[in-house]
Amino acid sequence: MTFMLTCPICGRRELHEFLCGGQERGPRPPQEGLSAEAHFRYAQFRSIPPAPQPEWWYHGQGCGVWFKATRNPATNREERPGG
């Protein structure tokens, strides 16, 4: 499997330059009164729909910037590259 991702700083680059930070799931929930279940749902639970989804990617071998990409895991293609 190989595909390319569009880093907003560096442009289109090989997959092996990136680390995946998982789905976008919003900011960290407030911790005051946070139930264990709510916390683990936020921290651990993922769904992988075969449809475009916002994800975090880290250009670790390049500019060292986290960015959001919208990728379809079924095709490994980006929607709105660089968005």
């Binding site: 499997m1 190989t2 595909f3 390319m4 090989e14 680390l19 930070g21 919003g26 900011p27 960290r28 407030p30 911790q31 005051e32 946070l34 264990a36 916390h39 921290a43 651990q44 975090w56 880290y58 670790g60 060292g64 910037v65 986290w66 490994n76």
Partner: protein
């Protein structure tokens, strides 16, 4: 054998003979020969013995289509004779041979083929299980293609890689590929053209037929010259493609010329667009004994004569299914081969011009006929021709039987590219029905036979590829489309699945490499493996090195015929990478060994350090061959030692929101940092596991210097930024890990040593434990000095710019000589810190234990919820739980065999935990252990048993649970 008179299609230089050895004898080839052409010219007909039945096998294709012609060269097995250029002095040997290729002792196996049905290896020998090793050994000895001789070749050729970037990559250097490259290059983009053979030209290379008054080989030369003259086309010949991948990554290997830097090396080309023009090959005709030496595709014989000047035989019979066989017959007759007959499986639809030429040459033409059986054993001696309807048969004598069932497209690159393929009922070939983005196909693999049509399709594909890569070529594309439309379309193919009248028990081979016969296909279907993808695995069709080439389309067609499936529903098998097998050494030989070295590497090496891998670094682990490091440990405890701790993560963080970021990732209250003081804290992940620990020093307002563990240095920036990604905070991080080297000067004499090389006040009052000072050492070296105590002694960690570290080391060693200074390594450090009860992340911590479980919960500021500290919810959640693993100390009883790291801790028959680190401590006088055990067994004073089972001899040792701080629990020594 003398070569044919010189001709313009020849690719050899008969004036330059090359001597080599074959099977113990001397032989001679000429420059330009491959091993196969040289051996064939020298009269070799039986090249090897087959995998299962030890049948004699001869030259089949000239492009590595089968393992028939795999030979051992200079002791290296499995070299493809057809694609390896002849070199002077080569020692060549046949493979899978007992005796000689011509008289093979296992040849008798062929008579017992009934005992070796499809899948026999899986089905027959596995019961009873105890006999399996016996059968395995016997079968492996008889089967196989070549024997590795680890001591045979000491050659370790260099390993290289080459990465190309292009707007358009073209796979295949025939007329379509060359036309595509030329058209794509008009857009100005970078074009890379890959051809597996030594020369561009494809099937035009050896053809003398006149088209528009010009011989086709001249047309090939002309195109190749234009390609070579084009500045933005790069041509790679002898560069087989192993696959084309997602978003048009082309991979393959470059075969180097003689005297090159390597035998071959790997390349990758990332192209915006790709054109696949890999062409066609002859589809083997499946008939009885179709594997006899002397049975080959028409092109093989044709190229032997035209390109290599070798007369392939004296009397040939053709049994083809494509016009190329008619053309070959005329050409070979011209080279002096007597053509006894040309049978053609097609009853009609032949090129009238060629039929007329055959008639003029006085050659017997038999449309609607094909080959039914070959005669002879080590050589083909004759053929039984049959009418397609099975009505008549006729025997003919020949020593060359040039057989095919039409053409098949070389779909390998499209298969790896995940193009959708379907069987075309006009061309009789698998063709793309849907292509991935920016991928295009051209040439004869679309069923085109007319050379102008092939070039037009190449031009169109090249323009479309360049346009997809960003060139505005709309008008050119429109013209090219018209040209394709006006050129002759795809030719009708041949639909013959196999020879008529073939018996179910026939030794008609579908796959040579795996000895897969028609009979085996029938057996596979009967066993229920009745679709090609299943039969491929059960019967091994296409699993050999030649892959798809020989069985490819035939397997699908025969299975469809057996099942009565209509042709338009034909499904094939997936062609797997590598499409052409590279050497393992090409992908994984000696080569890249880029790792990190500290600025003290040389200084330590000079003192006898033994280095080990530690992440990306090579670090000094021992300073003597005593791997228990007794002297190193004793010296730190008694005098003073120095450790290279340079890989320690070192960072600067600053900016208005720097403190917020620290509060987020560290578990402690980071608002309590102070200038001149090291604040120790830890980082957790969202499950509360310990991820990192280190100290943070405030060096200015909103400006901090902090350390991380060596293993985490590379992930620290990523970690900070990830966990603050939604906050929009303004802070900057600078990774200083490599900027500053680090020396840990530790031991009761540490202060005395340092005092000799700096004017700074090192007294306990001026520079207390956990203090931080910026001092100048020696000849103006700026040092960040941290007074820490990981090993449990008075210690100064000196962080100095890396370029000065070698100098600093020399300075310290000289100053410390009178105090008994010695270097110590990672192993000694690990023992020293374990005696002190200091954990190493990943050694005394793991995914099941939280910060609290390993006794570091005191670091966590549990009241802070506002900072949303990473790990805090999990720590909170786990804090009331029972039945968790806890870190404890163990005082282990003396035993004959000492427990080791990783041994399990038991209570009766229950496993209650394991030993993380254990050593016999000279300092303590007894063996200690740091263990993770269930909280039920964790209270101090309890006893546990340790179960050891090295090399299958179990023993049990007893231990008492104690506090995990074995050495100087009050910490008096590090505050001294």
């Amino acid at each position: 054998m003398a070569r044919l008179p010189a001709s313009p299609t020849q690719r050899i230089d008969p004036s330059r003979p090359i001597r080599f050895r074959y099977w113990g004898g001397e032989a001679e080839g000429v420059a330009g020969d491959t091993v196969a052409s040289a051996l064939y010219a020298a009269g070799v007909r039986v090249f090897s013995r087959s995998l299962k039945y030890h049948r004699p096998r001869g030259l089949y294709g000239l492009d590595g289509e089968s393992a028939n012609t795999f030979v051992a060269i200079d002791g290296v097995p499995n070299e493809a004779a057809e694609t390896t250029l002849l070199r002077p002095g080569m020692a060549i040997a046949a493979q899978n041979v007992r005796g000689s290729p011509e008289r093979d002792l296992y040849g008798i196996l062929d008579r017992f083929d009934g005992l070796m049905p499809a899948g026999f290896y899986y089905r027959l020998f596995h019961r009873p299980a105890r006999l399996w090793p016996f059968f395995q050994e016997r079968l492996r000895a008889m089967a196989g293609v070549g024997v590795l001789q680890p001591s045979g070749s000491r050659e370790r050729p260099g390993r290289f890689e080459r990465y190309l970037n292009a707007e358009v990559a073209v796979v295949g250097g025939g007329p379509a590929g060359m036309a595509a490259a030329l058209a794509a290059a008009e857009g100005g983009g970078r074009v890379c053209l890959f051809e597996r053979r030594l020369h561009l030209g494809g099937h035009l290379d050896w053809r003398t037929r006149l088209v528009d008054g010009q011989p086709l080989h001249r047309r090939a030369t002309e195109l190749a010259a234009r390609v070579a003259a084009c500045p933005n086309i790069r041509v790679f010949t002898h560069a087989p493609v192993t696959g084309v991948w997602g978003e048009n990554l082309v991979t393959g290997f470059l075969i180097c010329p003689e005297g090159g830097i390597a035998r071959e090396y790997h390349y990758e080309c990332r192209a915006r667009s790709v054109v696949v023009a890999s062409g066609c090959t002859e589809r083997p005709l499946v008939f009885e004994h179709n594997d006899r030496p002397g049975v080959m595709p028409a092109t093989t014989a044709w190229r032997l004569a035209a390109s290599y000047g070798v007369l392939p035989g004296r009397r040939a019979v053709f049994a083809g299914g494509d016009d190329s066989s008619l053309e070959a017959a005329i050409e070979l007759a011209g080279y002096g081969v007597e053509v006894a007959a040309v049978a053609d499986a097609r009853a009609e639809g032949h090129d009238p011009e060629l039929v007329a030429a055959i008639g003029e040459a006085g050659i017997r033409f038999l449309p609607g006929w094909t080959a039914g059986a070959a005669r002879g054993t080590n050589r083909v001696t004759g053929v039984e021709l049959r009418r397609i309807d099975g009505g008549r048969a006729e025997e003919l004598r020949c020593d060359l039987l040039l057989a095919n069932a039409g053409l098949q497209s070389l779909i390998g690159p499209l298969s790896t590219l995940k193009a959708q393929l379907g069987y075309c009922t006009r061309t009789g070939m698998f063709q793309p029905t849907r292509l991935p983005e920016r991928a295009f196909v051209a040439g004869s693999m679309l069923g085109l036979r007319d050379v102008a049509a092939i070039e037009a399709s190449g031009r169109l594909a090249g323009l479309e590829a360049a346009a997809a890569a960003g060139w505005d070529a709309e008008s050119q594309i429109r013209e090219a489309r018209d040209a394709v439309r006006n050129a002759p379309g795809p030719a009708a193919g041949c639909f013959l699945a196999c020879a008529p009248g073939i018996g179910r028990g026939a030794k008609a081979f579908v796959d040579f490499d795996e000895d897969g016969s028609y009979k085996n296909v029938v057996e596979s279907a009967q066993q229920g493996f009745d679709v090609p993808e299943l039969a491929k695995r059960f019967g091994g069709f296409g699993l050999g090195p030649g892959q798809y080439h020989v069985p490819g389309q035939n397997l699908a067609m025969i299975m469809a015929a057996l099942a009565g499936t209509p042709l338009d529903q034909l499904s094939g098998t997936t062609v797997r990478p590598p499409l052409v097998p590279p050497r393992l050494a090409t992908l994984a030989g000696p080569g890249l060994a880029v790792h990190k070295e500290t600025p003290l590497h040389d200084a330590q090496a000079a003192l006898g350090a033994i280095f080990r891998n530690a992440g990306a670094w090579h670090r000094a682990r021992y300073f003597s061959t005593d791997l228990s490091c007794r002297e190193e440990i004793r010296n730190v405890r008694a005098n003073v030692g120095v450790l290279d701790s340079s890989p320690l993560g070192k960072f600067r963080i600053y900016g208005p929101d720097a403190q917020k970021a620290l509060q987020r990732v560290y578990v402690s209250d980071m608002s309590k940092t102070k200038p001149g003081r090291c604040k120790y804290s830890a980082m957790c992940n969202d499950t509360g596991n310990l991820m990192d620990d280190g100290v943070v020093v405030e060096i200015g307002p909103g400006d901090y210097y902090f350390t991380t563990s060596s293993a985490r240095a590379g992930a620290t920036v990523e970690w900070f930024r990830y966990h603050t990604r939604h906050d929009g905070w303004e802070y900057q991080l600078v990774n200083l890990t490599d900027t500053l080297g680090s020396l840990n000067l530790a031991g009761p004499n540490a202060r005395k040593v340092l005092a000799k090389i700096t004017d700074a006040d090192l007294s306990n009052a001026a520079f207390p434990y956990m203090g931080y000072r910026e001092i100048v050492v020696g000849d103006g070296v700026p040092v960040r000095c941290l007074r820490l105590g990981f090993v449990g002694e008075l210690s100064y960690e000196l962080h100095a710019p890396s370029s000065y570290c070698g100098y600093l080391w020399d300075l310290i060693m000289a100053a410390g000589a009178e105090f008994g200074i010695r270097p110590f390594g990672l192993e000694a450090q690990s023992c020293l810190r374990a005696e002190k009860g200091h954990v190493i992340i990943g050694t005394e911590s793991e995914q099941r234990v939280t910060l609290t479980d390993i006794g570091m919960g005191f670091l966590w500021d549990s009241k802070d919820t506002a900072s949303k500290k990473v790990g805090a919810p999990a720590l909170r959640h786990a804090s009331g739980q029972t039945d968790r693993l806890k870190l404890v100390g163990l005082r282990i009883d003396q035993a004959e065999r000492r427990p080791e790291d990783g041994d399990i801790v038991i209570d009766g028959t229950e496993v209650v935990g394991y030993l993380c680190t254990t050593r016999m401590s000279e300092t303590l006088g007894w063996q200690y252990g740091l263990a993770l055990i269930t909280d039920r067994h964790a209270p101090e004073g309890g006893t546990v048993q340790i179960y050891s089972n090295p090399r299958g001899t179990p023993s049990v040792t007893h231990g008492t649970v104690v506090a995990p701080h074995f050495y100087d629990p009050e910490g008096a020594r590090l505050r001294a």
